[in-house]
Amino acid sequence: MAMMNMVQAINNALDLAMAEDERVVLLGEDIGKDGGVFRVTDGLIDKYTGNRVIDTPLAESSIIGASIGMAIAGLKPIPEIQFAGFMYLGYAQIVNHAARYRSRTRSNVALPMVIRTPVSGGVKTLEHHSESPEAEYSHIGGLVVVEPSTPYDAKGLLASAIHGNDPVLFLEPTKLYRLFKQEVPEEMFEVPIGKARTVREGDDITIITYGTMVNVVEKALEKKPGISAEVLDLRTINPLDEDAIVDAAKKTGKVIIVHEAPMSFGVGAEVSAIISEKAIYEIDAPIMRVTSPSLPYPMPGYENYYIPNEKKVLEAIERLLEM
C-alpha cells in the first residue's frame, strides 16, 4: 500500500496497464513531454518509448477517431481529451462510432478503448473547463460511463476499464485530483464496473451520489452526527447498479440524489425513475434532488453560487426528515 492522491492513482494504473500489455497506448494533447495539463501521465513517455505515449495534433475528433481505428486494428488505446468541455469536437466520433461499432457489427468488432477526461468544477478555471456531462454520454447507449470519487476507486475502475472489452468514458473530477490521499495497493487490482459502493450505512435517510458530491455529502453528514444516513456512491453511471440503488432506497424509504451536474434530464431523474418503478411502495416521502441549477456552467466568479455545497445538502436532508 502507498498513500496516493487521485492523480497518482490514475498514473499508477496507466503505468501498470502499459507494463502488462504492449497493446495499450496513450494519446492526446500534451500528454507526453508535458505529462498532461494535470500531470496525470507524467513520466510515462520516458518509461514507455516507441510511440506508446503519443502527443497528438490539436484535434479532438481525430484523437477519438484514430483511437477507434487503433482499437479496430487490435490496440487498446487510451485517449485523453484535455477537458470534457472540448470533447464535443469529438462527440460525433463517440456517438456515431465508439458507442455503436459493436452493435453495428453484431459484436464482430468490439472497441476496447478508454477515453479519459477531466470533469466538474470547483477549481476556478476558464469557461468550458468545469462541466459535468455524464448524463449526455450515458443516454447514447453503448458507452460505459465511469466516475470515481476516491483514489482507490480511480485506480481500480480504470484497471477494469482497460482490461474490459467495451468503450469506456472515464470521467475524472478535477476537484478530486489532489483533494486527499488514501491507501492504495501498489499492485494491479480491479474495482468492478457497474457496482456501486456503500460509503456509509444508516437507517434514517438514503443519499445516492457520485463524483465530487461524495465528499460534499460526507462533510455535510460529519456536521450532523445525529443523522443516520445510508450513502451510496454510484461509481458507474452507465450501466447503473440498479440493485444497489433499489436496496438502498428501500432501506430507509427516504431518498435524496445529489450530483453536481444540472438537474434537468440528469442522472438524478434516471435514478429517481428506477426507484419509482421498482420500490415506490416502500418509499414514504418524495424523492428529492440536490444538484446544480438547470443552466450552463457559469464563469468561475459565480461557481460557488452554482455547485451544491454542504449547506444545501443538509437543508435537503432536514426537509426530508421532517416529512
Binding site: V25, N51, I54, T56, P57, A59, S61, S62, I64, G65, A66, S67, I68, G69, M70, A71, I72, A73, G74, L75, P77, A92, Q93, N96, H97, R102, S103, R104, T105, R106, S107, N108, V109, A110, G141, G142, V144, G164, N165, D166, G194, P239, L240, E242, D243
Partner: protein, 356 residues
Amino acid sequence: MLKDAFSATIKYMQIMDENGAVDQQLMPNDLQDQKLVEFYKMMNLARNLDAKALSLQRQGKLATYAPLLGEEATQIGSAMAMRQNDFAVPNFRQHGVYIARGLPLEQFFVYWKGYEEGAAIDKKLNMTPVIVPVATQMPHAAGIAFAKKYLKEDSAVVAYVGDGGTSEGDFYEAINFAGVFKVPLVVIIENNQWAISVPRAEQTAAQTLAQKAVAAGIDAIQVDGNDVVAVYKATRDAIESARSGKPYVIECLTYRMSMHTTSDDPTKYREDSEVEAWKKRDPIARLGAYLRAKGLWDDSKESTLKDEQLKSIDEALARADEFKPNPDSIFENVYSHMPTVLEEQLENAKSSDYWQ
C-alpha cells in the same frame, strides 16, 4: 524581403483514354492482359450488382440504397491494387471495393436489406463496414494505419471519401494525423462531381481536391477516375509510398451517373447534357474497347459473362432471402455484458406479443 516560402504542383494522370488508347510509357508493367480482363469482369459485376440492388429497392425489397453507377473504375482499380493484407476503409458507396475484396454478395444484400449482420465482415477480408456519416471513417483509417505500423504488420490502409467529404474536418484531421505520424495511409478521393445536389465547384474554391493534401504535408496526384489503369497504377504506387512512411492522397475524377441515393432526384439540380457528356467517358466501355481491339474480348464472351454474373447475383440474393432476423440480437450486442436495464427490456419484449 518577400520570397516564395512554398510552392506545390499537382499532376494529372490518364493512361487509357475514352477510346481505349493507351499511353504505353505509363502502362504499368505488372498489368498483363489477363489482369485487365479480370478488371473488366469485376467492373461489370459491380455494375450488374448495382443495377440489381436499384431494381430491388424500387420493388421495396431493399432499404435506401446508394448506387455506384459510373464509379466502377475508381473502385475496382484501387481495390485491385491492394494486397490481401492491406486494409480498406470505405464510406457508403464503395460496393465495388467490397466485392472486389471478397465480400460475399449475399452479405451485401443482407446489409442493404437493413440488417447489421451484413456489416459483420469476415476479419480476414481486412475492411471496415459501411460508414454512413460522411468522412467520419477517415480518422479510423488513420488510427488503423497507426496500429499497422505500431504492430509492424506489412499492411497499408486505403480509405475512401467523396468530393463532399473533403470539406469535412475529419478528412483534414485524418490526413494531418497521417502526415505527422508517417503512417501507411492512402486516401482515395472518389470525386464524382456531386455531393447530393452541390456540385464540385461549389464545394470548395480549391482548383483540385488533391491539393488539400499539400496542407497536411503529404503527396497527392489527380487521376482520371474512369480510367481503371490509371487508378490501379496510382493506388499501387501510393501503397508503396505509404509502406515507406509517406501517406498519399489520390483524387479520382469520376462521375455519379445515378442518384445520390434512392431517395434522391438528380433532375432537380443537374442538366441531362452533363450526364450525357460523361456517358462518353464510361469506364467499362473504354476498357472493353481496349480488350476488343487486342482480341481479348468479343460479343460472345460478353454475353456469357453477363449470364454468369446475373446468375450468381440471383443465387446470392436467394441466400440472402433465407436470412432470418433475430430481434434479440439488437439487445445482445451493445455491451460485452448485457446490463440489467437491457435484460429487463428484452424480457419485457419477449413476454408480450407486440413483437408479432
